[in-house]
């Protein structure tokens, strides 16, 4: 039990900085709750007065006077409760919005290696629905719990004053119930976490399958996908049902104790006293009323604490995300990169997984302004080399030097600003073409974007669209062909005016006509710039200043095209397969 209390204060401490800013809302809300609880206690007392005095005394005037008191109490409490709902809900929503924003910006800073391991669907489930759970903590829960606790304390004090003999019997019983509840919650906590996890799995699976539905249809495996989702849904259901039955079953027992047993005990004790004349009916009614009104909040408190447990389970999940080490933690370099001479890979070894080297002793130089091509069979380490140069993974063995300064000592963001990355898998975001080209960076003017689009000769394509540059792209660019997608990702690098262009097999799947377009404009762009191109098509690499042939993680041949044709049989073979022998040309 001590462990729980510690976690409770730990969470409160975590939330406090968010609450601090709107402390006024919180304080006023709490004040309103205090007054409302107090008012709730008055009603039964007024009633008791009527029953004990006005009715037996047949005092009509007095009865109406008490009635008037009742009206005032009611009006005030209604108004205050409206205010408290509004204020505290606002606080809750404000906090959760800030919270989500923080979490999200933290996630964006996490290293690429982390993203490789996460299914996107699960991420969404976490941030969105878990945040909602935490929100409930503020708006509904705190209002109810604190209000009920206040009422509880106040009610007990009054009962004690009225008839301590009876109160003494009830007090230990209620405390016992409280302890019983507590243990129940601990037990149920594990289940709540499990339910949220299973829910996240369902979301991930559905996301996965919906993204690839056309493929599923083409493969005729709709049933398989359906069964998989069904199973995931069933798994969640089983745990939830089990949890619910325990929750409500135990609530029912407690309710019986308090609603029936306690009241019967009270009657048994007070009946003789009433008959003897030492106790009035009115006070009995106050007892009954209070117990009735104490019961409901007690039930609610247990339900609410269960909800808090659930919220904390969600909070914990979210916190786990914000505690992950970011790129800033991994890349601690601070130097401003200067690139005037060369980029050098010096005996670089790299492995994604311990012991499985993907790059083995890679050394090469990219002089400024030169174009280097990486060729070789797929899986030989070309893409990894590119990722390392982008600073996506830390280099543990060997060094990457920029003008003699190790990349690890540099401010990684400043370095990335120098790079224009064009990936094979073109990522298009929902939004307009304009925003896709400048990746939402509004510091890049629309003119720059227009210019970039012209260079890649997408003008015709844009003109055909009614909204032009502001035309919306469907999710993952389904209304744009593969080639056009490539051109857009190309325009990105141009718009950002990168010094170093890195292309990963980008031009491989564009037809020769479109590629010809790009080749022409690329020549203009690349003059004066440095380029690293990973290619499968030799046509895009033939005017490289140096070609590096990668095989199984090593560079096994290097040189200009003609040199390699003569010295490397592997390279020869690659070229042969790419060139077509046509008799008449």
């Amino acid at each position: 039990m001590a462990g729980d209390k510690q976690t409770f204060t730990y969470y409160l401490k975590l939330l406090f900085p968010f609450v601090k800013k709107d402390l006024g809302l919180l304080i006023f809300g709490l004040f309103a709750m205090l007054v409302t609880s107090g008012l709730r206690l008055l009603n039964p007392l007024i009633l008791a007065q009527i029953i004990d005095h006005s009715i037996p005394d047949k005092n009509m005037a007095q009865m109406f006077q008490y009635g008037a008191y009742f009206v005032i109490v009611v009006l005030l409490s209604g108004l205050l409760s409206y205010l408290q709902i509004l204020l505290l809900s606002r606080l809750g929503i404000k906090i959760i919005t800030k919270f989500k924003g923080n979490v999200f910006s933290h996630l964006l800073k996490l290293p690429i290696s982390w993203f490789n391991k996460q299914p996107v669907g699960e991420l969404i489930a976490r941030v969105e629905s878990d945040s909602e759970r935490v929100k409930v903590l503020f708006s509904d829960l705190s209002i109810t719990i604190i209000g009920n606790v206040l009422f509880f304390i106040g009610g007990f004090v009054i009962l004690f004053i009225l008839q301590w003999q009876i109160t003494i019997y009830i007090l230990p019983a209620i405390i016992l119930c409280g302890i019983g509840y507590w243990f129940l919650f601990k037990y149920l906590n594990k289940f709540f976490r499990l339910i949220r996890e299973r829910y996240a799995i369902i979301t991930a699976k559905i996301t996965d399958y919906v993204q690839g539905i056309q493929m599923i249809q083409a493969l005729n495996q709709e049933t398989k996908a359906l069964q998989d989702v069904e199973k995931a849904s069933l798994d969640k259901k089983k745990v939830e049902v089990h949890t619910q039955i325990i929750e409500y079953g135990s609530q029912s027992i407690f309710s019986f104790m308090i609603n029936v047993v306690f009241i019967i005990i009270v009657i048994l004790i007070s009946a003789p006293k009433i008959i003897a004349g030492t106790l009035t009916v009115g006070i009995l009614i106050v007892f009954i009323q209070y117990i009735y009104q104490l019961v409901w909040p007690l039930m609610q408190i247990s339900e609410n604490v269960m909800q808090i447990q659930r919220s904390f389970a969600s909070l914990k999940r979210i916190l786990e995300l914000t505690e992950l080490p970011t790129e800033d933690d991994t890349y601690t370099g601070t130097k401003i990169p200067v690139f005037e001479q060369e980029i050098k890979f010096e005996n670089v070894w790299f492995a994604y997984k311990e012991g499985e080297w993907v790059l083995k002793d890679i050394s090469f130089t990219i002089p400024k302004g030169k174009k280097i091509a990486l060729v070789g069979p797929s899986g030989s380490g070309k893409t990894t080399t590119v990722s390392l140069l982008c600073g996506f993974y830390p280099v543990e063995k060997g060094k990457i030097l920029i003008d003699g300064v190790p990349l690890s000592e540099m401010d990684f963001r400043e370095w990335r600003k120098k790079i224009g990355l064009i990936l094979q898998d073109v990522y298009l975001f929902p939004g307009s073409i304009l925003e896709n080209v400048r990746v939402y960076n509004d510091q890049i003017s629309e003119d720059k974007v227009q210019k970039a689009i012209s260079i890649v000769q997408l003008d015709d394509f844009i003109k055909k669209l009614p909204e032009g540059i502001n035309a919306e792209l469907a999710e993952r660019g389904q209304n744009v062909s593969q080639g056009e997608k490539q051109l857009i990702s190309f325009a990105r690098a141009l718009a950002f005016e990168a010094e170093i262009i890195i292309m990963d097999e980008a031009t491989a799947s564009i037809d020769p006509q479109t590629e010809a377009k790009i080749q022409r404009s690329m020549e203009n762009l690349l003059s004066g710039k440095t380029a690293l191109v990973v290619a499968h098509r030799l046509t895009s690499v033939l005017d490289a200043d140096e070609i590096l042939y990668f095989s199984d993680g090593r560079i096994t041949a290097r040189g200009k095209h003609n040199e390699l044709l003569q010295t490397s049989p592997e390279y020869q073979k690659l070229v042969e397969l790419q060139m077509l022998r046509v008799q008449d040309e």
Binding site: L123, K205, V260, R416, G483, T539
Partner: protein, 588 residues
């Protein structure tokens, strides 16, 4: 309203025994709730009576004990009905599960245009968020409706008792009810529109999230993390606004209910007190009416909640039905003729235009493909090559012209049987969560070890898989992120080959399969799948080595078929197309 009620009744029919149990338990629960205060009234009147006429009761405690015994019995009944909310929760879950499976099943039948309209994040939200928890659909179907039923029956039972005691007092107590309903009706619609807006905002945020994480490399390499954050902040701010307006409306609503019930209570105190002072009703009755009115506050507030949460649930139902009812192509492909073998494929004057594009991407395309023939499709970017593949698979429907398989028009064919013999390898390889083996075997129910090995070998995966840490049990993350593009592509090839297809469609695998591996692939295909027919879409001219014929789609959308040599001599645009490509090579 009508269609929603119909929908609800349909769901109930599917779970009719549970619904019946719920009805019985609900009534029992209400009965028990009402009985207890009534017995307490008897107790109060008894005590007063004992005080007033002690001579009637030689042993007063005996009478007290008698009533206490009745209280205890009702208490025990309450113990049983206390399980009622738990069972309600159970049935909620049943509904949630069956609805999710039902709608997902419908999604699986949708076509290309559906996924253009509905983004993934949106669809996922509708199948998860919209269904689960309070106050969404599955909660509403059981708890929502039955809690209301519980409240309603409790109110009815209470009224019956009250009327039988004193008509005047009862009427006064229930007077506020019609006012309440009227006020509610006006505010309810406002709540409805607000809720819809809120749901849309949630879906939008989910979309944004998903998109950002998928394209994280781009965001990072262009150092746009800060800027990207801005967009999310905007979406959240919008959501904040919508939620606050919801809160305000709900708060006003609850305020209204509270006051109206307090007014009723005040009515009882004043009028009941008046009657009690005059001696027309007993103290016990006075307290009973007061108790019943207090008990009715919660159910009375709950009852209109049914309509509020109903409206909210109806929005969810609409969103689900909207997806289900969206027309799908697959309804049009209702042919019965089953295809077992592939002998010919023919396109006769087929034209196709995407609804959002200004001109058709295919115009009067005609060609034939025979058994065992391998055909290469060449053409400029965006020229409809993938469209042809989709048309063959029945994922798209031609605007005009006929597509025939083995001489039969495609709409007479059982499309599932066609998809069994045709294997499609898409341009962008898509893997599902699971191991390497799971992914390869995804396309079939089961495959012999031999077939599996052949597929793996042919796709040039043997060495790769051997090098994976867990071999073919290695887990490949969402979209197969932990493997290289080339490896992903080869996995999808293996997935296609394990079906032992008769027609293989390779949609531009050049992006992730280098020339050397492509050569090996074709060799292996020739060896292991000798009679296979193939349609290859490629930008790599070396592919010409491996095919029998070429289909060239020009910039207008017209198609020309022939052998490579034939086309070079007879089609100027083809000639130029190749020349562009070769020109670059010769210039070096």
């Amino acid at each position: 309203m009508n269609k929603h009620i119909k929908w609800i009744l349909e769901q109930y029919k599917a779970q009719k025994w549970f619904v019946l149990i719920m009805v019985v338990l609900t009534l029992l629960s209400s009965l028990v709730s009402i009985a207890f205060p009534y017995v307490f009234k008897e107790m109060l009147d008894l005590l007063k009576d004992i005080l007033q006429f002690p001579q009637k009761y030689p042993e007063p405690m005996k009478a007290v004990y008698r009533i206490i015994k009745i209280m205890f019995a009702i208490g025990l009944a309450q113990l049983v009905t206390g399980l009622y909310p738990g069972i309600r929760g159970w049935v909620n879950m049943r509904f949630e599960h069956s609805l999710r499976v039902l709608y997902f099943k419908h999604i699986l039948t949708k076509d290309f245009s559906f996924f253009q309209k509905f983004r993934t994040g949106d669809i996922v939200t509708r199948l998860t968020d919209d269904l689960s928890d309070y106050p969404r659909v599955s909660w509403f179907l059981c708890s929502g409706i039955f809690r209301a039923f519980n409240s309603f029956s409790m109110i009815v039972f209470a009224l019956v008792v009250m009327f039988s005691i004193n008509v005047k007092l009862t009427l006064l107590s229930i007077a506020p009810l019609p006012f309440m309903m009227l006020i509610f009706y006006f505010t309810a619609d406002k709540v409805y529109t607000n809720y819809n807006r809120n749901q849309q905002a949630i879906s939008a945020i989910n979309n944004q999230l998903e998109m950002s994480f998928s394209g994280i490399r781009i965001v990072k390499s262009f150092v746009s993390e800060e800027k990207y954050n801005r967009f999310f902040d905007l979406a959240l701010a919008k959501r904040f606004k919508t939620e606050m307006s919801m809160v305000k409306l709900n708060a006003i609503l609850s305020l209204i209910w509270q006051y109206i019930d307090y007014i009723a209570q005040i009515g009882v105190i004043l009028f009941g007190g008046y009657l009690a002072v005059k001696g027309e009703i007993t103290v016990g009755t006075f307290f009973l009416f007061y108790t019943y009115l207090s008990m009715m506050i919660y159910p009375l507030i709950d009852l209109p909640q049914l309509f509020v949460s109903g409206k909210q649930a109806f929005v969810n139902i609409d969103r689900l039905e909207e997806m289900k009812n969206y027309p799908t192509l697959n309804d049009e492909f209702k042919g019965h003729h089953k295809v077992k073998e592939f002998s010919t494929l023919s396109f006769e004057n087929v034209s196709f235009q995407y609804p959002d594009k200004p001109s058709p991407v295919l115009k009067n395309v005609s060609f034939e493909l025979g058994s065992g023939e391998k055909m290469l499709i060449l053409g400029a970017t965006g020229s409809g090559k993938t469209t042809i593949a989709n048309l063959i698979l029945g994922l798209l429907k031609a605007n005009s012209g006929i597509i025939k398989i083995n001489g039969k028009p495609i709409n007479e064919i059982d499309i599932k049987s066609l998809r069994n013999i045709v294997a499609y390898v898409p341009q962008e390889p898509l893997l599902f969560g699971g191991s390497v083996k799971d992914n390869i075997l995804f396309a079939v129910e089961q495959a012999s070890e031999k077939d599996y090995q052949i597929a793996v070998k042919t796709s040039q995966l043997e060495d790769e898989i051997a090098s994976f840490p867990d071999r073919d049990n290695t887990f490949v993350g969402n979209r197969g992120l932990s493997v290289s593009g080339g490896q992903k592509q080869r996995l999808t090839i293996a997935r296609a080959l394990i079906k032992k297809p008769q027609l293989l469609i390779l949609d531009d695998i050049t992006a992730s399969l280098d020339a050397e591996n492509e050569e090996k692939l074709w060799q292996a295909l020739r060896e292991n799948y000798p009679d296979i027919s193939a349609i290859v879409i490629s930008h790599r001219l070396s592919t010409l080595h491996y095919v029998d014929s070429v289909l060239f789609i020009d910039s207008q959308g017209y198609a020309h078929k022939g052998s490579h040599d034939y086309l070079v001599f007879n089609n100027q645009e083809y000639h130029d197309f190749l020349r562009e490509h070769l020109k670059q090579e010769n210039e070096k």
